[in-house]
Symmetry: C2
């Protein structure tokens, strides 16, 4: 008897993993228009959506060490996309937030990424759209647990 079963957790996990890799690899192609490379775009994204945020938390969120994030943030600041504010409460830390320019650049980059995917989703049968919608809640639950 085959172990290939529709709801075998290992098979689902492997296929989800593969699909996510290919999806992001494709979507990343649209980033060339942003003028930022992947690590910078990713950091800016977290600052825009989760800011203000400390450098340590940002490094945690991006799974890199603080020295690495220091350089990335310095580059974003030099481009006028991010600003640093010292904390009045704890002067060891800095609070990072996006400038208006930074928000604009990030949202434009995100729009480019999302747009081609959205245009493909738009032509799917309604049942497929519903399936995708249901999947998102499941995936969000999985990611939170991991």
């Amino acid at each position: 008897m085959s172990t290939e079963r529709p709801t075998n957790p290992e098979d689902i996990a492997a296929s989800l993993h593969s699909a996510a890799i290919h999806l992001l690899r494709q979507l990343r192609q649209a980033d060339a228009g942003s003028g930022l490379n992947s690590p910078r775009l990713s950091a800016l994204s977290v600052i825009v959506f989760a800011g203000p945020i400390t450098l340590g938390h940002l490094a945690d969120a991006e799974r890199v060490r603080p020295p690495t994030m220091t350089r990335i943030v310095n580059a974003l600041e030099a481009k006028g996309l991010v600003k640093k504010c010292a904390s009045a409460i704890d002067r060891r830390t800095i609070h990072l937030s996006a400038t208006m320019k930074g928000k604009r650049v990030l949202l434009e980059a995100r729009r480019r990424r999302i747009q081609s995917l959205a245009s493909q989703i738009a032509i799917l049968p309604p049942q497929d759209k519903k399936t995708l919608h249901a999947t998102i809640a499941i995936l969000n639950g999985l990611v939170r647990v991991l």
Copy 2:
């Protein structure tokens, strides 16, 4: 009237994008045990599953330039994970394939990634598993078109 609709393509696209990012970021944590960094692991993965493959095609698949892939492949070869074979047909090209050691390292790394995800999927309700299973086919179709 709200534009937030369950099957609005933009919303689905944005949420899928975000979920994929978070999923892979989480899974990438398991890679530390492999002894390889992300670019090398990724290249090895393509060689194991799509090999033998030329350096140019591998660079295309990974969305980097040939000089970048040359260095990554040289490092993998130095570690005994990959071997290069000159082509008898076209002596400009080389064929890359994984060694037994390379396959072992990659499959072990992949097992680590998949395992934690599979253990979470295993405890989902059967309906959620079916939803995920249905989603994979849809996602594979989307990725192919992009």
